[in-house]
Amino acid sequence: MKSHSHAFLSPRDMIGFALLAAMIFVVFPLLLEPFRLNLFGKYLTYAFVAVGLVLCWGVGGILSLGQGVFFGLGGYCMAMFLKLEASSPENTAIQSTPGIPDFMDWNQLSALPWWWEPFNSFAFTLIAVIAVPVVFSYIIGVAMFRRRVGGVYFAIITQAIAAILTILIIGQQGFTGGVNGITDLRTLHGWDIRTDAAKTTLYFVNGVLLFAVLLAAQFVRRSKLGRLLIAMRDQEDRVRFSGYDVANFKIFVFCLGAAFAAIGGAMFTLQVGFMSPSFVGIVPSIEMVIFAAVGGRLSILGAVWGTLLVNWAKTSFSESFPELWLLGLGALFIAVVMAFPNGLAGVWAEKIEPRLLKLTRRGDKPLPNATPAE
């Protein structure tokens, strides 16, 4: 076991953060045309979920197969606000009831449901984006962790919740837009989000938010809470016997992961311009786990790299060999479990970094301070 320095950012972490920042804020915007940049922006919204999973699963040992629920709830909250703005009475004059979202009109609704009303306010929406998923995850967390349900049972129940929410959204299409989701989103406070310029701006907003989340996650890992989570993951009973209330720490980290996922969901809606149940259910939720696993379930930065890599591979493969992608993804699940349990971050730390260090050390042999600060 490596000794963990108690500093917030070790020099090594600092380099990692700087490298990722350079990639997200300089290299991608310079190299990619607006369409591709928007695509990478979409990938980065999944990274919010993956970072949350690193804390819950890698550090805390709680595998949630329902992170799509929180991603979706955040995204739907944002989509409801944008949809209401796009459904002004002038825009929807041809409907039998002008002023309500088009899918409600198609489903013979003649008035806005009461729970849609508050989403006319942007301030309320911003609070709801975080609050709705966090309250939901808090309820799940209290119900499960207080009864000491964990491990595979927790995974199965969260997966069932993801399935239930998907069926509910698809079934209640008059209120939710059904299987198509909430589409045709246009403006945010009159600012057209569909132009290239707006998408580029949103990409940068997304990047800044992602770094805020990454720093928060790093703070949690370096704090006493982070060390307790690791202790709980490895020896839960000992932590309990030492007098800690294990359930509360689990509930906290689960809610934090939900909040991260929700921010990602809201940014997804803004950048992609719609939200649908296909980002809520079982399949997207478990794919988000593989993003974190490929990056390295213990590494916050690795989660971002893993997300980018898997999604980039998915896009390029499904463009040219759609039938190979599912095989590749399946093999990836198996390989990452059997051969690389610590993902890219593990490969980097065990294989690449020592060689790099050896090379640099050979280069400037007389300098003893070239050894890494662990």
Binding site: V152, A155, G171, P341
Partner: protein, 308 residues
């Protein structure tokens, strides 16, 4: 809502609805039995369980085509051959998977979950490449077509009865294997205390492989039975997975009786609610109730008492 029906018609509706619930119950039992062995006894999360069922369904499809082309005279009996082959194929694949994947991961249950999910994706794509993306249906032998009139108003489909008979038969078979055979005794001993079972000379590695294989084989038979009441597509297995796991967990892992009781309560709740609500809302309410009860009683309906 009942005013336009006469009393006897109402009785018939409830009887038919009850029968539909019994068919759903049989389907749930068939789906869950294999998993009750694998998850309940071994604690392995097999996310590819649905794909093993689909393998059985495709084997049945192949056998029905083969009999139709080569031995039309024996066609009415092909299903029994298909069921045995489905058991063998799914069981063999299961034993291979246990050898290649699962046995390395017994200590890491969450990783088993991810690895078997990967396996399910690979199997889905293989089915799609081999059998095509469209759903296929088998030709049902004549004796299974049509329905049996009980009264003037109530009639029950024969293939439904057949699936029910199969569910009862396979449950009885699994019961005998689990509680009356040497293998079942060993499996339960390992479930109770693996090291002790090892110490008294049970070949735990071989028993694990057999158990996983038999669980997958039962799943294959279930898939074979499903071809009698519906068509088969490459991704059909995925939609069973939540129901199946909830049935097993709700019943209390490790208890065969619990699995059957939970399949019964879930299927009846769902089919009764379907009469009053839309199908999707009935499903949502049923699943929510199950999840709610599991939050209050995580050990499920019938908890097996074990010394840990």
């Amino acid at each position: 809502m009942f005013s336009e029906y006469t009393a006897s018609e109402l009785g018939a509706i409830f009887a038919m609805q009850g029968f539909a619930g019994l068919i759903l119950f049989s389907v749930f039992v068939l789906m869950a039995l294999g998993l009750a062995i694998i998850f309940g006894q071994m604690g392995v999360i097999n996310m590819a369980h649905g794909e093993f069922m689909i393998l059985g369904a495709y084997v049945t499809y192949l056998v029905s085509n083969l009999f139709g082309d080569l031995m039309p005279a024996l066609f009415s009996g092909y299903f029994f051959v298909a069921m045995i082959l489905a058991f063998l194929a799914a069981g063999a694949l299961g034993m291979f998977v246990e050898w290649a994947l699962i046995r390395h991961l017994y200590k890491r249950p969450l990783d088993t979950l991810l690895a078997t999910w990967g396996l399910s994706l690979i199997l889905q794509q293989l089915y799609r490449s081999i059998f095509g993306a469209r759903e296929v249906g088998v030709t049902i032998p004549d004796w299974m077509m049509g329905s049996l009139p009980l009264t003037d108003l109530i009639e029950v489909p024969i293939n439904g009865i057949f699936v029910m008979v199969l569910a009862v038969g396979i449950s009885a078979g699994v019961y005998v294997m689990m509680y009356r055979s040497r293998w079942g005794q060993q499996v339960r001993a390992i479930n109770n205390n693996r090291q002790m079972a090892d110490a008294v000379g049970i070949n735990t590695a071989l028993t694990d492989r057999m158990t996983f294989g038999i669980g997958c084989g039962v799943a294959g038979v279930a898939g074979s039975a499903f071809t009698m009441i519906g068509s088969t597509g490459p991704t059909a297995g995925q939609q069973y997975i939540v129901d199946t796991f909830l049935v097993v967990v709700f019943g209390g892992a490790g208890s065969l009786l619990g699995t059957i009781a939970s399949a019964f309560s879930i299927s009846q709740a769902q089919s009764i609610m379907e009469f009053f609500l839309s199908g999707s809302m009935a499903k949502v309410l049923t699943l929510l109730t199950v999840v709610g009860i599991l939050m209050l009683r995580p050990q499920g309906l019938f908890a097996l008492k074990l010394r840990k």
